[in-house]
């Protein structure tokens, strides 16, 4: 377990806010980032999440100074860093590959940045030992990276970042090479470490569990643009568009294209599904094309009379506390529901389900209709 020794720190942590204005990055003819805006308050843990090729790693490399922006500006606090070299930005980065110097022992790896900054020997030794104690790698200091396990290498890479006491931590998918059990453990430890050190952090991942659990501020990226920014739970509950709705949440949200209509009693319906709270949405018009979305967790098993839809179970996965039921609706469309495990559901059963919460998006713009 990692331990911090705040009393032994010999200088206060300098934190910065991170702002990016209208960042554009092109590689030849390809535009990778299209006017990205970031605003990360100091001391916060920001996560950039998105599928492969969405531009999240490029954005991180722009913040690190490892790539030059095509246009736009980057600010750390009140200082513009857009054209500064990486070494002038006071940052530390943990790479996906760990990037430990293979010809140096763990101690030399940790000392490398301090040596370049001409830190005196006594301070250097004290800092290395403090961080080694914090990360539980003190017994590895004289080993070469090749003699370490994946988890140990990951810790050394973290240590190399921490020992410099930078104003900003950058993480480029640091857990993706660990096995799932270790990944979950290190994820918790990274969050703890952030809470203890309080240094502003930007973390890139494609893993939505990491994104949801680590972030104070979450940025969902796709196609080189920020699709939505906010607290993870807010984004999960109120996604701004169909992409965000489907990207976050596991299993993914069920969506289908329908038309808005009025029922026999004048109530609003999205296709055949009644809209329980029409006042939550703007622009409801009969005949308007919409995409209706229902999260698999937002369903309840009810009696036939109360049902909004009927699901014929084809595959039932038991995951301890809950069941994931994959099947088809009466219209033969595929649909997924997650239900408490106490329900005995078997393949071939038809389930009467009530929708607890519903999302509506415009069919053309794919933006949320929630007001």
């Amino acid at each position: 377990m990692w331990q911090t020794r705040p009393e032994s720190r010999d200088s206060p942590v300098c934190m910065v806010s991170v702002r990016a204005k209208q960042l554009i990055k092109r590689f030849g003819e390809t535009t990778v980032l299209r006017g990205v805006e970031l605003d990360i308050p100091d001391g916060k843990f920001a996560v950039l999440v998105g599928p492969s090729g969405c531009g999240k790693s490029t954005l991180l490399r722009l913040l690190a100074g490892l790539e030059r922006v095509s246009s736009g500006s980057i600010w750390f606090g009140e200082r513009e860093v857009t054209t500064l070299e990486p070494r002038e930005r006071d940052i530390a980065m943990v790479f996906q590959s760990y990037a430990l110097y293979p010809h140096m022992t763990v101690r030399k790896n940790l000392e490398f940045g301090l040596r370049l900054r001409k830190t005196d020997a006594a301070t250097m030794t004290a800092r290395v030992e403090e961080v080694a104690g914090m990360l539980d790698i003190a017994h590895l200091l004289d080993r070469l990276p090749r003699a370490l396990s994946g988890g140990q290498r990951q810790r050394v890479a973290m240590g190399r970042a921490i020992v410099r006491r930078p104003a900003l931590f950058l993480f480029d998918e640091p857990l993706s090479n660990l096995d799932p059990a270790l990944r979950a453990q290190v994820r918790v430890e990274i969050r703890k470490l952030h809470d203890e050190l309080g240094v502003t952090s930007v973390y890139v991942t494609h893993d939505q569990v990491e994104a949801m659990t680590l972030a104070d501020v979450l940025y969902v990226l796709e196609g080189g643009e920020v699709q939505q920014r906010g607290r993870p739970i807010d984004i999960y509950r109120e996604p701004d568009n169909v992409f965000v709705a489907q990207f976050l949440g596991s299993p993914a949200m069920n969506v289908r294209s329908v038309e808005l209509a009025r029922g026999p009693a004048g109530e609003w319906r999205a296709g055949s599904v009644p809209i329980a709270q029409p006042s939550a949405f703007a622009g409801l018009e009969v005949g308007r094309g919409v995409i209706v979305g229902v999260r698999p967790h937002d369903l309840a098993l009810v009696g036939e009379a109360e049902a909004d839809l009927r699901l014929r179970a084809e595959v039932v996965e038991t995951l301890g506390p809950e069941l994931t039921v994959h099947g088809t609706l009466e219209s033969d469309e595929p649909f997924v529901a997650v239900l408490p495990a106490e329900h005995a559901v078997e393949r071939g059963d038809t389930l009467a389900l009530r929708i607890e919460r519903l999302h509506l998006f415009d069919a053309q713009t794919r933006q949320s209709l929630r007001c």
């Binding site: 070299e85 990486p86 070494r87 530390a92 010809h103 490398f112 940045g113 003699a147 410099r164 090479n177």
Partner: protein, 287 residues
């Protein structure tokens, strides 16, 4: 697998290895035998063991001297050995020092003419050295560098650089860029990252390239024989060739010379192999 099967397999493997070793060592043992036999001609002999062992051929080769026009005597073989060592070391040093920055640039940077540059370097490898012997002779003559170590080094370095660039470019490309980027984020300039991270990791490849450039220059005969006609300027391959004349072949001296000539290379190889530790670069990045 049973213990008996293990034993048989091991026996078969060792027999094959032993045969291969005998096959490759036999000619060398035969040369050693000839060098210490005192026989001046080649006589068929199955076992490579000197009949009447003697150090005379060795003494004659190593102790060769020459009387200068001013009456002074110089140790000719010493001068020729020095020629070979100086020319080969200088060639390797110049070749590797020019190739390191060149290869790094080809491996890491995008610039106009990058691809064409590599093709041009490759093209220089298509022609055998002998094809350039005549122009090189004329150039060196114009520069008054015939029969000098400098002249030979210039010729050798011009051919060793392209090959060294190829070797080292692959080595630099194999080093993950993450390592340099990590160093730059840690506070290094690009040059510091290159010196402190890339060069140490590429050390085995640089050692091999140095060794190869050294040995190519050390063994080179055709250019040396073309560009040198003063025996004081000879390198060892030219010296060796002179033992086998049209009318008088001194195979004992040739064999003794061959052994003496091999010693510096063997020593160098022994030294360099310590730097060629496999897997030095392993473990730095997840792979």
């Amino acid at each position: 697998m049973t213990r008996r099967a293990d034993l048989l397999e091991s026996l078969a493997a060792h027999t094959v290895i032993l045969l291969a070793v005998c096959f490759s060592l036999y000619p060398i043992l035969w040369v050693v035998s000839l060098a210490f036999s005192g026989a001046t001609s080649l006589e068929p002999q199955v076992l490579p063991i000197p009949v009447e062992p003697t150090l005379e051929p060795m003494r004659e080769v190593v102790g060769a001297t020459r009387v200068e026009p001013d009456g002074g005597e110089i140790w000719l073989f010493g001068r020729q050995l020095a020629n070979s060592l100086v020319v080969s070391t200088a060639t390797a040093l110049i070749g590797v020092s020019i190739a390191i920055p060149t290869a790094y640039a080809f491996a890491r940077f995008e610039f106009v003419g990058r691809r064409e540059g590599m093709r041009l370097l490759l093209a220089t490898q298509m022609f055998p050295a002998v094809a350039s012997a005549v122009p090189l002779f004329m150039i060196l003559e114009a520069l008054e560098l015939l029969n000098t170590r400098t002249g030979l080094v210039l010729c050798y370095a011009s051919t060793s650089v392209p090959f060294a660039v190829f070797q080292l470019r692959s080595a630099f490309e194999a080093i993950p860029e993450d390592l340099e980027e990590a160093a730059m984020v840690d506070g290094a300039t690009r040059f510091e990252a290159f010196v402190r991270v890339v060069l140490p990791i590429a050390r085995p490849a640089i050692a091999v390239t140095f060794l190869f450039a050294f040995m190519t220059a050390y063994n080179e005969f055709i250019l040396a024989a073309t560009l040198l006609d003063d025996e004081r300027a000879f390198t060892l391959p030219v010296v060796l060739q002179r033992f086998i004349g049209e009318y008088d072949a001194r195979w004992d001296l040739f064999a003794a010379g061959a052994i003496v000539v091999s010693l510096p290379v063997m020593l160098l190889f022994y030294q360099v192999q310590r730097h060629m530790v496999a897997g030095l670069g392993a473990g730095g990045v997840k792979g």
